[in-house]
Every structure is written in structure tokens, then in C-alpha cells.
């Protein structure tokens, strides 16, 4: 039993819904009680979908439990098939149905429905949403493709067979799904990127694919594993059984996109991409080199996201923007190894957790100047007064923008530059306001040139030092004695940029406690500074 206040991931059947809802011609019958239909709103409200997800819920009630819930399952399956005429049917159960063991998948398989049926077993008490999505995509493809699997020992066509077949090379884009971060736009960006290099897209799955498209998956010369959380198991299975090689580099950021192209071109036997391509196609390299970006140097950044976006963000932040990564973590336990490796490269230990409070604590301790995280970290960062950009699912309605805003490819790098740097500039603006607040224009915060009643014309200069109370009482220290900040100490503290002020306050208090100093003056603050900088 584990206490959860907010979760990064839903249950695994929500992952299965993401696959079904991403596709066309697939229907999902879910054995689940009333209330589980809440999941529809993830798609209709957050993704603003114009149709309900293709899910039929059995919505059993307590009174059904005494009777024949298996009959209810069969009736729901038959009605769903009759009404929606799917090309493939997924059948599974949510957490409660798992306990009553009606085995809806087996029931469906015995029903002669005239459509391919994939029975999903997604253990609700040990697995989560992304695992459920990956398992569903894998099971669905395996179910549709198993009759095509060549016998062991059969020669597999190489990734360069397109040359013999006198056609352009073609690849599958695997992993984009609803409720994934910016998947819709990433697909469009990658289609363009691949087209520029003479590569065709064979199938995009699950987003927008039909079951018939999945049957064409083995015709690709390579698979691009764009979101390993969702496509990892499928890519490995296709590689093992059909010999399709996988490009696992996720093209988010300049370096990763260039590496992705190099790997893909080498694999397919194409000319290597030109080195100038990044500079020609994306503004990030120049913007990052331009002189006003020098203030980005060494900015402390804390990263927490799904594995795909966390790893990508760490690379961009450290190599392409010159930030210092002070924390890196993920809630994707399935990809923990990769995130640990990325953290190690930066001299960090990765935080693998699905407890947002633990993440918030790590964030506070790291004292970053920018947080790159999920909606949870956005809220935590707000509480801590740190600017934040959202880089990963779980999604909020504002993470599904109306405009084109990919993360992948050259345009994705542009989007990332803007969306990470703007919150920092806002932070800098706050800092400047802090620095200039002795100027009377800033006494009340921002004042408009329109003037107005709020302009404190009568008292132009109100030095903040005078506003600080003589001594600020503080809560009891761990030793029990009360620490006091003198006016001079507070005044000095207030001159420190707001985003490190909390850390300086904590360090100074820790130093004062250690030395048994009861009153913190400006001198104590500088002594502490010297002490900690050693």
C-alpha cells in the first residue's frame, strides 16, 4: 500500500485506451465499474478530441456481482462489435474487474466475432499507464502479424533492399500517441525531415494508424523508436522476428537530431547528411551563440520528466545552451537505466521516483534557476518561486497548443529554445526589478506610464532597508534556540537574486546554527558565503 496524492501516470488500462484512441478502426471493450468512464475526459477535454475514445465499458454494479458478470461482458462485446464494426477489437479489464476474474479476453476469443481479437492482460496493481500503452501496442501488432513471422533461419532482407527494389527507402515512426507530449507535431516535423533526405514514411503508429497499416509494418527498412515508453517493446519484437533494424536515438535537440540523421542514413546506405544542415535549418545554434545568450551560461537547471524528454532535455541543456544540470530524474521506471546513464555523464545521480513530493524536495535542495518538468513540477516550481517550462506528459490542456509546436527535429529545437529561455528571461526581469527597486518607479512593482492613482508621488524614495523590521523573528532552530536576522542581515539578503535567496538563507542559518550564532548580521551572511564556497 502506498500513499499517493498526485500521480504522474494513470493505470495501465488508460495506456491501452491511448493506443485505441490514437488509432482508427480499433475498439476497446473494457470490463470496468461505473466511474471508470472518467478516462474519456482525458481525451475529450485535455486533448480536445471531437469524438469519444472508442471504448465500451461494461459498467458493472454491485448488484451485478451476485449474478453473471461474464454474461454482461459478452453482451457488451457483441453490442460493441455490432455498433462500431471495428477492424480489430481489444478486450481487457480495469483494476476492479481484474479482481473478479471474468477473463473477458478469453470470453471474447470464444465468441466468433469475425474480427481479430486481442486479449489484454494489464496487471493493474503492479503496472502503470506507459507500460500499459507499450504492452497494448505490442500485443496488438503481434496479434495482427504473428502469421507473417518468417520461420527461424529465414534470410531477412537488409535495410538497403530499397536499392534493389528501385524505390526510396521507407521507415516506420513508432510511438506517437494521444496524451503523449506534442506527438501530433513531432510526426509532422519528422515527415518533413525524412522527406528532405529522400526517405518515405511507411507507417506511423499508433497515431492515425488502422489495423491494416500495422500489417504493413514489416515492409519498412527501419523502425524509428521515437518514444521508447510506448514503442520500445514493439521495436524489439519487430527486430527479433522480422529483422527490422531500429534507430533508437530520439531526435530532440540539435545534437540528437543530427545524430539521428547520421545513424539513419548510415543504416539505409544513404549519403551522410551535411554538417551545415543544423545551422541552416534551426535558429537554436545561432541564438545560443548570440551575445545576449551569455547570460544563460551556467544557469542551474533541474530536469524531471518521462525518460525520453528527460534525457533529451539534459543533453540540450548541458551541451546546446550551456546550462548546468543540477538534477535529472524520471518517473519512467522502465527506462530508469537510460536516465541513470545520462545523469552519470553529467556527474549526477538520477532521481527515479513517482512521488512528486520527493521530486519537489530534490528540486528545492538543488536550488535551480530553471525547472524543466511536467505539470507537477510546474506547480512545485511555482511554490518555490522558480521559473519552469513543461517538457513532458502528463498533459494539461495547455500542453496541446493550437499552433505548430513540435519538440523533435530542427523546428522542435526552435520551439525548445523559446519555451525554455522565455521563463528565464521573465525570471531575469523580476531580478532586474529587484535590483532597481530603489528607483521610485519600482516602489510598487511595475508602474505604467499611464500613471494613475497608485503612483506614490508623495514619497518617491522609500528605501527598502527602512521597510525591513528591526529584527525578523524566525521559527525555532533544530537546537531549540531562536535565530534572528538583524535588519542589516535581512537587507543584505534582500539584495541577493530571488532565485538563490532561499538557498543563501538556508545556508546562512545552517552556518549560524553550527557556530552557535544567535543573530545573523550582514557579516554572518558573508562569512557563511565564504564558508560554503570553499
Amino acid at each position: 500500500m502506498e500513499l499517493t496524492l498526485w500521480t504522474y501516470e494513470g493505470p495501465p488500462h488508460v495506456g491501452a485506451m491511448r493506443i485505441a484512441a490514437s488509432m482508427e478502426g480499433v475498439h476497446y471493450v473494457l470490463h470496468a465499474p461505473q466511474g471508470d468512464t472518467y478516462a474519456d475526459l482525458l481525451f475529450t477535454m485535455i486533448e480536445r478530441r471531437d469524438r469519444r475514445p472508442p471504448v465500451t465499458y461494461t459498467t458493472f454494479q454491485a448488484r451485478d456481482l451476485g449474478g453473471d458478470t461474464a454474461e454482461l461482458v459478452k453482451r457488451s462485446i457483441q453490442q460493441a462489435v455490432d455498433r462500431f464494426k471495428p477492424e480489430a477489437l481489444l478486450v481487457g479489464e480495469s483494476c476492479t474487474a481484474e479482481l473478479i476474474q471474468d477473463q473477458p479476453g478469453s470470453l471474447a476469443c470464444g465468441m466468433d466475432l469475425g474480427v481479430p481479437v486481442v486479449s489484454l492482460e494489464l496487471p493493474a496493481y503492479s503496472k502503470k499507464e506507459n507500460w500499459g500503452a507499450a504492452e497494448t501496442l505490442y500485443q496488438l501488432c503481434r496479434g495482427l502479424l504473428k502469421s507473417q513471422v518468417p520461420a527461424p533461419g529465414t534470410a531477412r532482407p537488409g535495410p538497403e533492399r530499397w536499392k534493389e527494389e528501385k524505390r526510396r527507402p521507407r521507415v516506420n515512426l513508432l510511438g506517437p500517441s494521444l496524451l503523449g507530449f506534442r506527438c501530433r507535431d513531432d510526426v509532422r516535423e519528422l515527415r518533413g525531415l525524412l522527406a528532405d533526405h529522400g526517405i518515405d514514411v511507411n507507417v506511423v503508429a499508433p497515431l492515425g494508424a488502422r489495423p491494416a497499416d500495422l500489417i504493413r509494418l514489416p515492409q519498412a527498412d527501419a523502425n524509428l523508436c521515437l518514444y521508447p515508453e510506448v514503442a520500445g517493446p514493439l521495436c524489439s519484437w519487430l527486430e527479433r522476428n522480422f529483422g527490422t533494424p531500429v534507430v533508437r536515438t530520439v531526435p530532440i535537440g540539435i545534437g540528437a537530431t543530427a545524430q539521428f540523421l547520421r545513424e539513419l542514413c548510415a543504416l539505409l546506405g544513404l549519403e551522410p547528411p551535411e554538417l551545415r544542415e543544423a545551422d541552416q535549418r534551426s535558429r537554436l545554434p545561432w541564438y545560443s551563440k548570440s551575445v545576449d545568450s551569455t547570460y544563460l551560461t551556467g544557469k542551474r537547471v533541474f530536469i524531471f520528466a518521462d525518460a525520453t524528454h528527460a534525457i533529451a532535455a539534459a543533453r540540450i541543456a548541458s551541451r546546446e545552451l550551456g546550462f548546468t544540470v543540477v538534477g535529472l530524474g524520471t518517473y519512467s521506471r522502465e527506462q530508469a537505466r537510460e536516465v541513470r546513464a545520462a545523469a552519470k555523464e553529467l556527474g549526477l545521480e538520477a532521481l527515479i521516483s513517482d512521488d512528486y513530493l520527493e521530486v519537489e524536495q530534490a528540486m528545492a535542495e538543488a536550488a535551480p534557476e530553471l525547472v524543466l518538468g511536467t505539470q507537477m513540477e510546474r506547480h512545485s516550481a511555482k511554490r518555490l518561486g522558480i521559473p519552469c517550462a513543461v517538457i513532458s506528459a502528463p498533459l494539461h490542456v495547455q500542453d496541446v497548443p493550437a499552433r505548430y509546436a513540435p519538440q523533435m527535429g530542427w523546428e522542435g529545437a526552435n520551439v525548445i529554445f523559446d519555451s525554455w529561455v522565455h521563463p528565464l528571461m521573465m525570471g531575469l526581469e523580476e531580478h532586474l526589478i529587484g535590483m532597481f527597486r530603489h528607483d521610485f518607479e519600482f516602489v510598487d512593482g511595475h508602474l505604467s506610464h499611464l500613471g494613475g492613482a497608485s503612483a506614490p508621488a508623495a514619497q518617491p524614495v522609500a528605501a527598502p532597508v527602512n521597510e525591513v523590521p528591526e529584527v525578523t523573528p524566525l521559527s525555532a532552530t533544530p537546537e531549540g534556540g531562536a535565530l534572528r536576522w538583524t535588519a542589516s542581515g535581512e537587507a543584505e539578503l534582500s539584495r541577493i537574486p530571488f532565485f538563490v535567496r532561499g538557498k543563501v538563507r538556508r545556508n546562512t542559518e545552517a552556518y549560524a546554527n553550527e557556530r552557535g550564532v544567535a543573530e545573523i548580521t550582514e557579516e554572518t551572511l558573508y562569512e557563511a558565503k565564504a564558508h560554503f564556497s570553499r
Binding site: 502506498e2 500513499l3 501516470e9 472518467y38 475529450t44 478530441r49 469519444r52 456481482l65
Partner: protein, 417 residues
């Protein structure tokens, strides 16, 4: 006041329901009682449901959480009990401000028959009065959406002190501002002892006894009423305080139950009613003759239909309700126009077909259905807003009507060429 009208047989349906479970009511209950914590004992689905229904708008250190059952808890109930005690201990140590802990049962905890009443008893003994622990079920196999509040309130009834003195007890959560307004209006009528359940502080429980008369602010508190009646309270039969007519009748019924001079009551209510009707007038012009289809969701559908028909002139195509409690609707049903089609339960696919066939001007529905219906060309109003917004009382009648007029106004405002 109730003239009888004839309603056709209720359409009873059982099929896929597009309704939240009772856990969802935690979203407003925890705001009502800031010193209480709601601990759902359930699965990741339960946690995800509350989070999704609540949205991130209340993302603070929340006063609700989920004890997520793991495989080990399912394997042995003895361990599950121990685990629950440990987890509650940790929680209460970290949140010393909690005065009342609600252990909330869920579908999985009901199915594995985890005895939360026993758990509450055990923890109560251990806490020695520092925190009160109660339990109820919000599971989807037993409760719909707003019924969760009924469960929570019922669990508080045994804790209410006894007092035989006459008092009016308002049952069901009202928005704080609306509640204050009602209290001041009752005071003007000379009705001074008015208490509320749930109270604003979970420790400030109202007394109950033979002198207690119950006035229902919400139509989904049937079990609470029965529990209070067993402690001697008597229910005042009244329509619900939605709209000018409903609110006035509701307050007047309470005043009558305490023998207050009708003239004094009229002196308070008449100017309010007059002003309320004036405020409603422009909205009535907007809504009059528009055809309304209510899907089952919050259990407020019948009183809303009554208000929107009688005071706003809307035509009722179908009025769905998750379940029909004829006793608690006794004053409402006769106010529905003749021929109103009620439906109870749901088979969502069939109901959507009826919507497509009848082409209403406005559909009241849950969040899962709103955008798909909009995309099909129907104006919609999400019902969840009705449980968050201050909609009760004469002064709110126009605001309530405006919630329904807004989608129609918006459609007229938008233009693309």
C-alpha cells in the same frame, strides 16, 4: 402548491453509464471541511480519477489522497490492514492539522471486502481522540457521483451530539457565500437556530434530536436523511432551492415548519422574488422555447429541469437522472410539465441516439461527452460546473440561468466570415 401533472412511464435503462463514481464528491467536500482529510483506499485508477476530475486547479498540498493497494495487499488481508494502519499513522504524523479522517472505500476495497469500519475503529482507539476516523464507500459499484457526499455525511451522523431543542438543520453542501445569505434571510424571518451539515469545520458538528427539522439543500442525501430521522429529526418536504420559485418555496417551507407568521415570511421573500424574477427576465428571453436534454449526472437534473421550464420557459426533451428517488423528489415531480420524459439509469449509446434524433438546442452532460456533442453541432453545458458554482437561492437564479444561456450566446457571437 403542488398541482399534479401526469408524466409518462419512466424510461429505465441499464447499459454503459457515463457518470462519475461517488469518489468524485471528495473534490468539493474537502474544500467544505478544510480540517478533514479524505483517504481513498483503492487503486491507481481511483487516484487518477480524482486527479482528473479535480483538474490541476486545486493542485496544492491536497487534503485528499489514495492509499493504493498493491499486489501484496491483495494477497493477504491481514497485511492490508497492517499496511493501512501504518500509512494512516504516517499521514497523521505529517499532517497534524487533520481533525477528521474519512476512510473512503472504493470498488477494489469493496470487492476484496477490506473492512474499513473496523479499520476506523482500530485507528480511533489508537489515536485516543486526537483525530476522529470515520468511513464510507464512494465506490462506483455502489454509488454515483454526488451520492459520495451522502455517504460522507451519513458517516458523520453517529458523531453528532444529541440535543432535543428546536433547530433547523440544512443538509447538503452549499457554497459558503450562498449559505451565509440563507442564514441571514432565515434570521430576518426570525429563525435563529439554523445549523448545517456538513459544517465548515469537521469538528463543529451540529447537534440533532427530536426538535431538529431537516431542510435539504441537495437532492442526493437520502441515506443521511434516514440516519438523521433515526435520531429523531424530521424532514421538511420542499422543492430544492434552485431558481426563484424553488428557493422561495424552500425557505417558506422551513419557516412554516417553525410556525413563523406567513406575513413576516412574505415580507422577507417577496422583494427577493420580485428582484430575482427581474434579473431572470433577459435570460428567460434567451432560453424561452429552447429545447433541453439533460443527461444523468449530478442528480440535480429534475430540480434544474423544473427551474429551466417554469422560470425560463425551456422545453424539456428528456430529463435523465442516475436514479429516481421519488420520496426526495415528491415536491419536484408535480412541478414538471405534463408529458415530461424522465429516464433513470443510462445506456449512453441509446441516449446519444435519442439526442441525435430529437436535435435539442442544449444538452446538459458530463465532461466526457461535451466536446464530442459540440463537434456534432449540439450546444452543451457541463454538469460538473453545477456542483462547484454558487447556484442556490433567489439571488443566484439569474446566475444559474446564465450558465445555460452562455453556450447559446456564445454560438451566436462566433462568426467565421
Amino acid at each position: 402548491m403542488a398541482q399534479t401533472s401526469t408524466l409518462p412511464p419512466v424510461l429505465r435503462e441499464s447499459g454503459q453509464r457515463e457518470v462519475f463514481c461517488g469518489l468524485t464528491s471528495i473534490v468539493w467536500l474537502h474544500r467544505r471541511m478544510p480540517d478533514a482529510f479524505f483517504l481513498v483506499v483503492g487503486s491507481r485508477t481511483c487516484a487518477h480519477l480524482i486527479q482528473s476530475a479535480a483538474g490541476v486547479m486545486i493542485f496544492a498540498e491536497p487534503r485528499f489522497g489514495t492509499a493504493i493497494l498493491g499486489e501484496r495487499d491483495l494477497a493477504g488481508l491481514a497485511d492490508a490492514n497492517e499496511e493501512l494502519d501504518r500509512l494512516v499513522g504516517d499521514l497523521l504524523a505529517r499532517r497534524p492539522e487533520i481533525r477528521t479522517l474519512f476512510l473512503v472505500g472504493s470498488c477494489p476495497s469493496e470487492v476484496i471486502k477490506l473492512d474499513l469500519a473496523k479499520a476506523a475503529e482500530r485507528i480511533n482507539t489508537r489515536m485516543q481522540g486526537r483525530v476522529r476516523v470515520v468511513n464510507y464507500s464512494g465506490s462506483g459499484i455502489e454509488t454515483t457521483f454526488t451520492q459520495g457526499e451522502d455517504g460522507a455525511l451519513t458517516s458523520l451522523v453517529p458523531l453528532l451530539p444529541s440535543n432535543p431543542e428546536p433547530q433547523l438543520l440544512i443538509v447538503g453542501t452549499l457554497a459558503d457565500g450562498v449559505e451565509e445569505r440563507f442564514l441571514s434571510l432565515f434570521a430576518r424571518m426570525g429563525l435563529e437556530t439554523v445549523r448545517t451539515l456538513p459544517p465548515r469545520q469537521s469538528t463543529d458538528l451540529p447537534p440533532v434530536g427530536p426538535g431538529t427539522r431537516l431542510l435539504l439543500a441537495q437532492p442526493f442525501v437520502a441515506d443521511t436523511v434516514r440516519a438523521l430521522e433515526r435520531r429523531g429529526a424530521q424532514r421538511i418536504s420542499a422543492p430544492y432551492p434552485l431558481g426563484v420559485e424553488g428557493s422561495c418555496a424552500w425557505m417558506a417551507a422551513a419557516a412554516a415548519a417553525f410556525g413563523i407568521d406567513p406575513e413576516r415570511v412574505a415580507a422577507v421573500l417577496d422583494p427577493l422574488a420580485e428582484r430575482g424574477r427581474r434579473a431572470l427576465e433577459p435570460l428567460r428571453r434567451k432560453l424561452e422555447g429552447k429545447r433541453l436534454f439533460l443527461l444523468p449526472d449530478s442528480q440535480l437534473e429534475i430540480p434544474l429541469a423544473r427551474f429551466l421550464h417554469r422560470e425560463c420557459g425551456m422545453e424539456l426533451v428528456e430529463v435523465g437522472t442516475p436514479y429516481l428517488d421519488r420520496q426526495l423528489m415528491a415536491e419536484e415531480l408535480p412541478l414538471l410539465p405534463e408529458g415530461t420524459q424522465l429516464s433513470e439509469g443510462q445506456d449512453v449509446e441509446k441516449q446519444l441516439e435519442r439526442i441525435r434524433a430529437s436535435r435539442p438546442d442544449l444538452v446538459v452532460c458530463g465532461m466526457g461527452l461535451a466536446n464530442p456533442l459540440e463537434a456534432e453541432g449540439f450546444a452543451t453545458k457541463w454538469s460538473i460546473e453545477l456542483v462547484f458554482s454558487p447556484i442556490h437561492g433567489c439571488d443566484q437564479a439569474a446566475d444559474l440561468a446564465e450558465l445555460f444561456a452562455r453556450p447559446l450566446n456564445r454560438r451566436e457571437l462566433l462568426q467565421w466570415n
